[in-house]
Symmetry: C2
Subunit: 507 residues, 2 copies
């Protein structure tokens, strides 16, 4: 090997990197059917019965009024009962797919059937890295993680990777939106934390994108994730977030978080029946607010540890629920949002195994977008800089799987095989020399160093090597955000609003 290694090294400077596309991915896997079409239909009908007979608690008068105007009834128990015809009408008006416009066309997010996209771990109150330890998320962490995700090609949208807890709540949405628009060309996220904040986020986005309200509403330019309060409740911020995003033509991912045995039935089929009912309720609300509004069927069902009630991720129950959720989304005719995750407290073997299993489940389930695909630890309580890099390596591997295998005559290499004698090797074959520089996927962290080399070099495990990767990437990062003059206008706008007191959550 030694000589060959030398031979390679002398070529290193000249070696161009592999350039397989990591955006605009199409899912290369055959869809899986873990339940029969009849069983899927059975869950769909059961969910319709829950909405029609048991009803759902919607904590927004405007939302209830919209539903009643469509024929739903709010009973003395306060629950709103939604008939099957209302649901089917909503599924008929909701688009099967759509595109979210990003800061640069190359980063537009295609959510049409067959598309595959990944989003980073989101909503984490804490942040952690091996240099500074675990802490409450800060604006600095939010901006650093946004920078790192902006530079990772297999992460396709922005997300609130950690919560900037050091920024006052009434101006936090200014800082988060400003950071997203200034640091990354990818499609931004808007929190549904009250109508004023949502409205202001839309205003900031329209200002920076140079769009009037009509132009802004003509296509999705951002997205939000709405979580129902399982079981059978949608609170006012969520309900009004659905309404306001739908009316503004912005994307809503409706995601019940159904924990088997806790906030949902203990069986996979039961939890998915509840999930389906709640997702459909949110989708109905969006379609009533604006027929044709861009919505995504979200799914995040997994089990809890029945000894502690703590959620588990990447478990067989999580995988099964994901594969069947993909079937339910196809039945609904909507793009599906899958969810990766891990309960691990460290970027270790448990973290990698659980994130990997849930990623495979989302991909095999046909997810148009996989949320929490990189960086999550502790079931989402912490965003880890090292885990972000380690998981991004897996996502870049999935992107590589989307590049078709070439099997033409040249790639079959019949001549090279004929020319290489038994017991010989292909290192020096012309067929190899012509291709080796760009033949293989290049990992971010993985090493093939043998034990001796690795041990002498300090025996650094993957998480330690990931620290070096994110530090180098942060140091070398150059923002690809909106033009300076537009950001200046945004800063002026923000300064005025902040001076006026900002917009507290829930307003």
């Amino acid at each position: 090997m030694g000589e060959r290694r030398g031979g390679r090294n002398r070529r290193e400077d000249a070696a161009p990197a592999r350039t397989a596309p990591r955006r605009g991915l199409r899912n290369p896997f055959a869809p899986q059917s873990f339940l029969s079409a009849d069983e899927i239909e059975g869950i769909h009908r059961a969910a319709l019965r829950i909405l029609a007979e048991h009803g759902i608690d919607i904590l927004s008068a405007e939302a209830r009024a919209l539903l009643r105007a469509a024929g739903a009834a709010t009973g003395p128990d306060g629950l709103t009962r939604i008939g099957p015809e209302i649901v089917e009408a909503a599924l008929a008006s909701a688009p099967a797919g759509f595109t979210i416009r990003a800061g640069e066309p190359a980063h537009d997010l295609d959510l049409s059937p067959g598309a595959l996209n990944f989003g980073p771990g989101a909503g984490c109150p804490n942040a952690t890295d091996r240099r500074r330890g675990r802490r409450a998320g800060s604006l600095r962490d939010f901006e650093e993680l946004t920078r790192l995700a902006a530079g990772l090609d297999a992460i396709h949208i922005q997300a609130p990777m950690t919560e900037p807890q050091d920024t006052p709540p009434q101006i936090r949405h200014y800082a988060m939106t400003r950071a997203q628009l200034s640091l990354s060309p990818k499609a931004p996220f808007v929190y549904a934390r009250g109508r004023r904040q949502v409205e202001e986020c839309f205003e900031m986005l329209a200002l920076v994108r140079r769009l009037d309200s009509e132009g802004f509403a003509s296509a999705p330019h951002c997205y939000t994730v709405v979580n129902t309060n399982s079981p059978r409740r949608i609170d006012s911020a969520m309900a009004e977030g659905i309404i306001d995003h739908a009316r503004a033509g912005q994307a809503v991912i409706v995601t019940p978080f159904c924990l088997l045995g806790a906030m949902a039935p203990v069986t996979v089929a039961g939890a998915l029946t509840l999930q389906h009912a709640e997702a459909l309720a949110g989708i109905v609300l969006a379609q009533l607010a604006r027929p044709g509004a861009p919505v995504v069927y979200g799914a995040f069902a997994t089990n809890v540890d029945m000894r502690s009630g703590a959620p588990a991720f990447g478990t067989p129950e999580h995988v099964k629920a994901a594969l069947i959720s993909g079937q339910l989304a196809r039945r609904a005719g909507l793009p599906w949002r899958g969810s990766a995750g891990t309960a691990s407290n460290a970027p270790d073997a448990q973290g990698a195994a659980e994130t990997s299993a849930s990623l495979w489940a989302a991909v095999l389930g046909g997810a148009a977008i996989v949320i929490h695909a990189a960086g999550w630890l502790e079931g989402g309580l912490t965003h880890s800089y090292e885990k972000l890099i380690l998981d991004a390596e897996m996502l870049e591997g999935f992107a590589e799987l989307c590049a078709p295998v070439v099997a033409d005559e040249a790639s079959l290499a019949l001549d090279a095989i004929g020319e290489t004698p038994p017991g010989g090797h292909f290192f020096a074959a012309t067929h190899t020399m012509d291709r080796y520089r760009t033949a293989f996927h290049e990992p971010l962290v993985a090493t093939t160093a043998n034990f001796g080399q690795w041990d002498e070099a300090g025996a650094a495990e993957a998480a330690e090597r990931a620290t070096i990767v994110w530090e180098a990437r942060l140091a070398a990062f150059t923002p690809v955000g909106a033009p300076a003059e537009r950001l200046a206008a945004l800063d002026e706008w923000i300064a005025k609003r902040a001076e006026a007191g900002g917009a507290p959550p829930g307003d």
Copy 2:
């Protein structure tokens, strides 16, 4: 959560464990097609051309004679050229599936189409654990790893998990066979290290199984793995191992180890063309030795790091090669052997991610058996006690995925959903109480402890917790091997042969 946790704990003593089957698995996933039927046919035809026009170097006069008797020709270059009609005849006589008889019928290994089995990491010269460190494999390590694998329900066959380097080569096969037959009820492995050793291993097995030579040959009672010497060579030990196992009706897994860019072409399609040619040559030899002999189409193609020439595992190239190898095995009408693996030097996130990716590829490729599915580190140079446990947890997860999801009326939980008010929870629901004790998969190592609990308890990462698991299992292990009187007879037999000098490898 506190109260609920207490509630659970009071029930712990009574809680029965989940009993989803971990043996006799049927693959629940739809087969994947990464190449079209035409492209698969193109690789098959190209492989036939290699065998017919370029030929293969077979370093056994008896093997060459068998092939010539079937119409093949050995040229002045020493290479034997095998015509397509000989190959197609062999594929016609080879069984599409078969069963390897184990020490107990419950452990018989079903290799029929649709079956899914896992074998532990094999052939590792070294062994390592966090207590004793990395060392050359010893008989003690071989026996300890055999014990651990015997107790892991999702590991379905035995394998030479590490090499007992402290046992003299001429009697090593006695010790390895004795350990397998005395410690585990699962089907044993025989090394093809010379005709005398193979013959003696068959004798020992027949003696312990109480079979005459006819009874022994009437069904496979063990298996071997034959690696071709890529490119285009089968050495004498391998060729004669194929012949002797086939004649004795024992299972042969023919596995070319095709490293893209090293011992095989740099392209996935080219490496698989070479792999297919070499696998077919071995399968032809087995069928000529005994038509209908039980053979498995083995595949282990992955890329190397082109900077060092070192093999990589669990890479996108490995995954693609595995999925397409599954298609080639289906074209050949044979059970397929897939291969998991990692190049990591530690049971860390890289190790978990690479083993997981290669496991998913083997499962999605339709592998009847996945070799090296647990314990491998350093690309197979070391068997890790901790990695064995961590990987077995993944295998038990795959076993769980093979258990169908129930979607009958009771599991849809309509009543429980109706009875549980919005904002309520299902912990106390009758539907939950009736099921929670056995509802969920129980991991070996994964924890859902929150960060505070975990940190206070010492912040042990997955590999550290795996140490505790294997130590406890070794301490509690009770062998389920052959009856004592049969082992006594075996020991007597071994003593005589050892006294006579044993059987050196290669004889």
